[in-house]
């Protein structure tokens, strides 16, 4: 099948900031994104686990966003406007898609 190159942006961010980040995605004009739960992790600020937690403070979530290469910079700029002071991790990678028109 013919495939077309796109970019995949992966974020790992603090859960309480989810809404602020997704608002930025909307602003950057992405066509969509998906949020995946993270249940545990470790980083510079130590280990954490979602188990038994009532509050979202200290919890993380993952966001996946498939975008056109031309939009990557706009998304990164929006995202870094929010996570400057917060814990967050952003990666960009190459993917191929079959139906390029939806992004």
């Amino acid at each position: 099948m013919q495939t077309h190159p796109k970019k995949r942006i992966d974020l790992i961010i603090e859960m309480p900031l989810l809404r602020r980040i997704t608002e930025r995605f909307d602003k950057a004009g992405v066509s969509g994104y998906s949020v995946l739960p993270i249940v545990a992790g470790r980083g510079q600020s130590g280990e954490w686990s979602a188990g038994g937690q009532v509050s979202e403070v200290g919890q993380m979530a993952a966001i996946i966003c498939i975008v056109d290469a031309g939009k990557v910079d706009a998304v990164l700029e929006e995202v870094f406007a929010v996570i400057r002071k917060q814990i967050g991790l952003v990666t960009v990678s190459d993917v191929s898609v079959v139906r390029p028109e939806r992004f």
Partner: protein, 327 residues
């Protein structure tokens, strides 16, 4: 009943013992975990039950001057305690101003499960208390956040950024605040008759649900201590025990002035002595992102909550008894 009796009875109650089991499991690094959605269910249940029953009591007894006075006292405590806490922290610890303000905000606000624990203990001792105290608890949740933000403001690099309204929305519409207030209103509207239809769920199961929740709290507090020990300097550890006593003392004086019953006095003291670990951390994560959330959480959940649960509550009940007993 002497303080020793009270303390012993408290330490032998299933709720406190299940908390100890949780603490033990966490320290022993057991893989025991209460799944996160279950923990959220337990918290939802406790807030609905507390709110509903408080509302039904208010409906039963009506709104009184004393109620208004006690709510006023609660709001005052919540506003004022952060300033006391901040002053102490800046003198005794090396916390940055922003972190000190964040910690102060936690100690001005309240912990709903500590409220649940003191009401549970009073019920077991058959000591009555003013049913509207849940409204006082609800009123004490948020004023401390304003104080914390005011304390932090001069020390923040970033401009105030005018998102004050944004923050207020997020604080007032926080899930746990809405649940408690919503249930309170439901209880006030549907009254004792409404309560009767749901009594087996919201009243009879309360101590059992509290056992489960405290098992979870023990696990989370123990893990929080394992992880956050590095933040717990001697001065912060001492603060986390002293500040509840200061809060409880001020509350005792206010309760005496208002003329609360022994039970009501114990509850107001416990509220003042307790530190938030759900509503305030969530609000400050958004409103004061420069603060390190692990510091107040470790203090509040890892030290102050266990202290209140194990020793504070019987102490507050004993003091409340002493100051309300006519001589």
């Amino acid at each position: 009943m002497t303080l020793t009796d009270l303390a012993a009875q408290n330490l032998l109650s299933p709720m406190v013992l299940f908390f100890a089991v949780g603490l033990f499991a966490a320290f022993a690094k057991s893989d025991l975990t209460v799944p996160e959605p279950v923990a959220k269910l337990l918290s939802l249940y406790l807030l609905m039950s507390i709110g509903f029953r408080g509302g039904a009591e208010v409906a039963h007894h009506g709104l009184t001057v004393q109620l208004a006075g006690t709510i006023g006292a609660g709001i005052l405590l919540s506003f004022a305690m952060p300033f006391v806490a901040y002053t102490i922290l800046k003198r005794t610890s090396r916390l940055s101003a922003v972190d000190a303000a964040a910690v102060a905000g936690h100690y001005g606000s309240i912990s709903a499960v500590t409220f649940a624990a003191v009401t549970g203990a009073l019920n077991q001792l058959s000591v009555p208390f003013e049913g509207y105290m849940v409204a006082v608890a609800a009123a004490m949740e948020t004023p401390a956040i304003i104080s914390a933000l005011n304390l932090a403001r001069p020390h923040r690099d970033q401009p105030a950024s005018g998102n004050g309204n944004h923050v207020w929305r997020e604080v007032l519409l926080n899930g746990s605040v809405i649940t408690l207030l919503g249930a309170l209103v439901v209880g006030m509207i549907s009254g004792p008759k409404g309560l009767a239809t749901v009594k087996p769920f919201f009243v009879d199961l309360f101590p059992g649900f509290l056992c489960l929740f405290l098992l979870d709290m023990g696990l989370v507090a123990g893990r929080g201590l394992n992880q956050g020990r590095k933040y717990l300097t001697a001065s912060l550890g001492i603060f986390a025990v002293i500040m509840p006593l200061i809060g409880a003392s001020i509350a005792a004086a206010l309760a005496f002035a208002i003329g609360l019953s022994a039970g009501g006095t114990a509850v107001l003291m416990t509220l003042a002595a307790s530190a938030s670990y759900i509503a305030v951390p969530a609000a400050l994560r958004l409103a004061l992102p420069e603060a390190n959330p692990a510091i107040p959480l470790t203090m509040s959940l890892g030290v102050t909550f266990p202290f209140n649960l194990l020793l504070g509550i019987p102490l507050y009940i004993a003091v409340a008894n002493a100051i309300t007993t006519p001589h």
